[in-house]
Amino acid sequence: MVAALTSAERQSAAVILLVVALAGLAMAILGGTGPLGVHGVLVMLFAGALVAVVFAGFYAPEPTEDRPTRYYDDPIKVGIALTMAWAVFGLFMGLWVAAQLAWPSLAFDAAWSGFGRLRPTHTTGVIFGFGGNALIATSFHVVQRTARARLAGQVSPWFVLFGYNLFCLLAVSGYLMGVTQSKEYAEAEWYADIWLVVVWVTYFVLYLRTLARRREPHIYVANWYYLAFILVVAVLHVVNNIAIPVSLAHAKSYTVWAGVQDAMVQWWYGHNAVAFFLTAGFLGMLYYYLPIRAQRPIFSYRLSILSFWGITFFYMWAGSHHLHYTALPHWVQTLGMTFSVMLLVPSWASAGNALLTLNGAWHRVRDDATLRFITVAAVFYGLSTFEGSFMAIRPVNALSHYTDWTVGHVHAGALGWVALITFGSIYTLVPALWQRQRMYSAALVELHFWLALAGVLVYVFAMWNSGIVQGLMWRTYTEEGTLAYSFLDSLVAMYPYYIARAFGGLLFLLGALVGCYNIWMTVRAAPHAAGRAADAPQPGGAAAVAGE
């Protein structure tokens, strides 16, 4: 890690870390024994541990002159390790909260372990911890390979990676202490949010500068999606998190938005977090690792253009479909609904483009579990985008809203699409990155695939059933004109589905553990002798000049 940095870079890394540690000290002093103080100590420990790493390698030999002729893969390797660690944590927390719904005594009567606090540790753990690290790691890989250029920074990739993980740690540990903005998927409080802005702007600049260095005349589609992800998430994060802290010494803040405007801003954020974090970024992944793994050209460049601009334009309008039949004016709901319907075709065009790319490679899908991960992910992407547009139609939403159907839909997307494409990409990336011929065990990839697929299917079918049963029970009337079921009746009816859902989650978690073991054994194996001589940036000036 540190050996690849020049001594000047080592100094700047140490200075940055000391500044972060000082910020932690300030938080600790201001916050005292409150959550802000605890987080101050956490920031100091985090920065201190990294300072120790930097100092340990401070007087190591300088990197050789030929450093720019190699891709910068160290941050990607650490990013993959962090991705898998967050996957295990986030999936375990998901399993725990799922089990709490079936067996409430698993909350153990403590404040920190109640459903309300654990649930955001699950959502943040999987979306931001697992998904976010996977996006950062793969984006660093994809942008270098498709630009044939080394990352445009030596310290900044580490800053982005570790800074982002510090944000995730602050968020998750805060929830356990009861620190929350009570905004779904934006629960982290003001100081963590400000820190994420710093990290994210660095990420954006790093990405743009790397693209500007490219030795290819054109920017590949995957980079369009990664860039859309980075840019839009920055905008969403800033607007939704504008808040005024109670004081600089206190973790609590209040949002500047009020009433239905607050709800609209929150779900504009929430829906576009799904769109640009969980969709655009992972489409970037799909556009690189699918053709690499399938060894096929992308089916249609023109279809890529149509779906990219369709997705980026239509998604922006669709957030209000989360607020059907609420205080939000009817006309805003209409716009959200109709744009969601128009969004379907660009979404399906992406999924179709992916699946048609496999024409001529279906025998590989049959034989190669890694490519099957990616293929099934594209199928789930198509399924859940259809489902999303369908559920956005107001009369359908009247049945589905507030039920487990929503939960099932989210997990069809999050497990079936996001997690499967991530595992498929990681299984493609790990042997390439560590210069191994293949994963340690193809059989374990196969086992992971079937565990994951079975887990998703059990989960999603359980939630479809429970959601629709719930929705119907809540809206059934007797002849006398009163409700036919009490809420408790519907809870009793959910019980078997909640057990099934927890079981599906358990299968998915087991699959991820198998994956961790397989990756670990692959990394430990001896490097492949042949290496990858061709896997290097284009020397400067030899190819077309960037930006032309």
């Binding site: 005349p217 590949y220 690189y288 053709p291 009817h330 209409t334 319907v341 128009m342 009490s486």
Partner: protein, 294 residues
Amino acid sequence: MSETGERDPVSGRRTTGHEWNGITELDTPVPRGVLMFLIVTHVFAVLWWVLMPAWPLGTSYTQGLLGIDQRATVERELVAATARRADWMARIETAGFDAIRADAALMDVVRSTGARLFGDNCAACHGVDGTGRANYPDLTDADWQWGGGPEAIAETMRVGVNAPHPESRIAQMPAFGRDGMLDRSAVRSVAAYVYALGNPGYSTADTIDTIEAGREVFLTTCAACHGEDGTGEPAIGAPNLTDDYWLYGGDLQSIVTSVHGGRQGHMPTWDERLTDAQIRLLALYVHDLGIAEP
């Protein structure tokens, strides 16, 4: 672009001529089906915009040809739903309890509708079937702390027990031991006496002195509320101590605990959450629970 690309042997299409780390793209035109489907979704959207409230116009918005608005729709549906229930609801609200109980058809409505109301409002404490649990009364038996007729039940629901309501039913069993009104031996002896009321077998040669001492304490301290014979007084919420139903436990140790620390049960008021008719209906339902169970 196709003039620069190679031809892909599988699809027969040419690539766009670009290559990124081995990745190429075919120059396949957008399939006609995609364009058709795109048009269909757009036509659907435009039609919906024309028919429904859709686009903002400064301080107003396009109202849509159908003139539908969600707020008006809800109000209309609420009126219709109320009208649908109006017939039997009016009779629940105005007829006497005895008259309603004599009307078998109306009591069927009470039983089916009451079960939902009970499930949504009462079951969290009293259980889905109304049998209660520790510290929450069983509503299916014949033992009633505040009276078991429909009128008394409706009144308990309306004002609550030890609730902030100005007319709330108030019943506080003092903490005789903790607050120093009775010493330890008095607490023990009166508990023994009360225990023996419902368990005559407890009275033996060994315990008779304690029980007798407890009787003295009971008559001077407890009888004012629970009555000289210990059968209680529903008008003030003093429970019957001679039967085998115990809200806070009927073993000797639980009785000692109750005498020592007192008891202040709480039931919320329902007059703001439920309508008069709903309270009356629930009172009938709860009363009926007690009759249906032997």
